[in-house]
């Protein structure tokens, strides 16, 4: 599963990885806003942003081409809409959809690939997002792999019992079998959640997860945040001045 790659990238030790998560979230939001509101000179601005992001990825020692390919996950959706816009006689908008969505995805990827998810969620927590929601998200991420593996085992077991894996043969019986499998997966997940909760209570859970690390916002983080937030804005102003 390829999201494990992202998890491995995020555990690197470069200077970019050591930055406080908040010092990366703020410039990310600034860059996304600058991209989303860009109109004139979009191709030039996009090129500048692309170079900036590639530099950031290289500095974080993240393999460049796999990262670029991963951000392209957004493209199938974007290409459909770009083609629709082109057909509707608005090729400029189609191009802008492609550029903006790809670069936004690449920017998010750059931050997520240099920040382990628990640290990232703690950074988001200090932006006043409800803790309950973030704790649920953290549990979701933790058990995503476990439950997905269980689903895969169930698929394999069903195939071993003779269920056709190709979806060509269809029918009510297979539909009901799939529904039954899903219901079993639901019941197992539910039971697992209860066991997890009991185990947590046995270890002294009081309704709050206690992180094993603290965030430190150092002067270097502040300097980076300021610089990295202003860079895209400066690039955009400079490029839009050029007639």
């Amino acid at each position: 599963m390829h999201h494990i790659v992202l998890d491995r990238w995020s555990r690197g030790s470069s200077a970019a990885h050591r930055l406080d998560p908040r010092a990366k979230i703020v410039p990310l939001l600034a860059l996304l806003a600058a991209l989303a509101t860009a109109r004139h000179g979009l191709p030039e601005f996009s090129a500048a942003v692309f170079v900036l992001l590639c530099a950031a990825l290289l500095a974080a020692r993240i393999p460049l081409f796999p990262a670029l390919a991963r951000a392209a996950l957004v493209l199938p959706f974007a290409v459909v809409f770009a083609v629709v816009c082109w057909l509707a006689g608005d090729p400029a908008r189609g191009l802008s959809l492609l550029l903006k969505s790809y670069l936004s995805a690449l920017a998010v990827l750059t931050v997520v690939a240099t920040t382990p998810l628990p640290a990232l969620l703690r950074g988001i927590e200090s932006l006043r997002v409800p803790l309950f929601l973030l704790t649920v998200a953290q549990f979701l991420y933790r058990y995503l792999f476990v439950i997905s593996e269980e689903a895969q085992h169930m698929r394999k077991a069903a195939a071993a019992r003779g269920t056709p894996t190709r979806p060509l043969a269809s029918g009510g019986a297979r539909f009901r079998a799939a529904a039954g499998a899903l219901a079993v997966l639901f019941a197992r997940s539910y039971g697992r959640a209860q066991n997890v909760h009991r185990a947590m209570l046995a270890r002294g859970f009081t309704g709050r997860l206690h992180p094993l690390f603290d965030l430190h916002f150092r002067p270097a983080d502040a300097a980076f945040a300021a610089l990295a937030s202003l860079a895209p804005l400066a690039a955009r102003l400079a490029l839009e001045k050029v007639p």
């Binding site: 939001l29 991209l35 509101t37 004139h40 991963r70 957004v74 959706f77 809409f81 629709v84 057909l87 006689g89 608005d90 908008r93 802008s96 959809l97 903006k100 969505s101 995805a105 998010v108 990827l109 998810l117 990232l120 409800p130 309950f132 929601l133 704790t135 649920v136 998200a137 953290q138 549990f139 979701l140 058990y143 995503l144 997905s148 895969q152 169930m154 190709r166 979806p167 060509l168 043969a169 269809s170 297979r174 009901r176 799939a178 499998a181 899903l182 219901a183 079993v184 997966l185 639901f186 019941a187 997940s189 539910y190 959640a193 209860q194 997890v196 909760h197 009081t206 309704g207 839009e240």
Partner: protein, 321 residues
């Protein structure tokens, strides 16, 4: 998204039709900014509701059930002509965990999808939350809440599944249209047909899974109270459908609405009432260029934020009183 292997192109199209996660860069600034600001209090309210009568077992439960919805994508439902579909889960979660908890679970799913799977944008998280976690879940819960106890139970479960998928998809489409993504009429028709087909599938899958779940353990599924007045429920449903269709029409043909306004004379009166700083989101007192649009958007944003603040204060005061 964890994409199951062995899918055909057709089923991928249906996937697009069902789970429209809007990426960044698709929506115009007024649209994403307004919906982001609207999503904050909405999600905050749902979180507070989900925590009410809180027992801390809910934290792992909601997380693990979110993971279940992710994993459910791997189990394919055959739907004929070599095509498969999979569960979206908004309605199913609402029937089992309750609407508020389902909203929180869907919200954390969307957050993880945006961060880890590059599926849906960060600035577009607000619109996606409104479409799928708030409107989708609540629309899916409405028929079940109204008729989930009587002899119409199965129909209500089906209708909920259909509505949750349809409302999310139509809202997403409307937001794209409002942002100026022009779609020729035939393409619009095709996508609406796909949405409808996908929504009917979601309804059928939800009914089948709820049926199987009740066989395993009946108390997984909530039991709504009996005896809701039929007329009230029908009116609520009709209102929901009308609002959804209205939003879509307004988004698809803003010119038509404007013309209607001019013909009926509302526009001239409205113009006198709300005259100009924000006409077409443009602050008229500024020089040309992107600053104008951005500032217009920001000023609108500030207005919406102030309105939310006032509304939130009023609700909080009412509750503490």
């Amino acid at each position: 998204m964890v994409s199951p292997r062995g899918d055909t192109i057709v089923s991928n199209v249906i996937l697009w039709g069902t789970a429209v996660h809007i990426p960044d860069g698709f929506l115009s600034t007024p649209v994403w900014a307004t919906l982001d600001v609207a999503a904050l209090p909405a999600v905050g309210y749902m979180v507070r509701r989900a925590q009410r009568g809180f027992d801390d077992a809910k934290v792992p439960l909601l997380g693990v059930m979110g993971a279940f919805v992710f994993a459910a994508q791997m189990i394919n439902f055959p739907v004929g002509i070599g095509t498969t579909a999979h569960l979206l889960g908004g309605a199913l979660l609402a029937y089992t965990l309750g609407p508020a908890a389902a909203c929180v679970t869907m919200a954390s799913i969307l957050a993880i999808q945006a961060l880890v799977f590059q599926d849906g944008g960060i600035l577009a998280l607000g619109p996606n939350l409104i479409n799928m976690a708030i409107a989708g879940v609540l629309a899916g819960y409405l028929p079940f809440y109204l008729w989930g106890a009587g002899r119409w139970r199965k129909a209500a479960i089906f209708a909920g599944g259909v509505l949750s998928a349809l409302v999310s998809a139509v809202l997403a489409l409307s937001e794209l249209l409002l942002s100026g993504v022009r779609m020729p009429l035939p393409i619009l028709g095709v996508s609406l047909t796909l949405f409808l087909a996908a929504a009917l599938l979601e309804g059928a899958i939800t009914v089948a899974v709820i049926g199987a779940l009740e066989k395993i353990q009946p108390d997984f599924v909530r039991q709504p109270r009996l005896g809701r007045p039929f007329a009230l429920g029908a009116a609520a449903l009709a209102g929901l459908l009308l609002a959804t269709v209205g939003v879509l029409l307004a988004a698809a043909a803003p010119d038509g609405i404007q013309k209607l306004g001019i013909q009926t004379g509302i526009a001239s009166r409205a113009q006198a009432l709300f005259s100009t700083p924000f006409t077409g989101y443009q602050a008229a007192f500024l020089a040309a260029g992107w600053q104008r649009k951005t500032l217009g958007g920001l000023a609108g944003l500030a207005l919406v934020y102030a309105a939310c603040l006032v509304f939130g204060r009023a609700v909080a005061r009412k509750r503490s009183a």
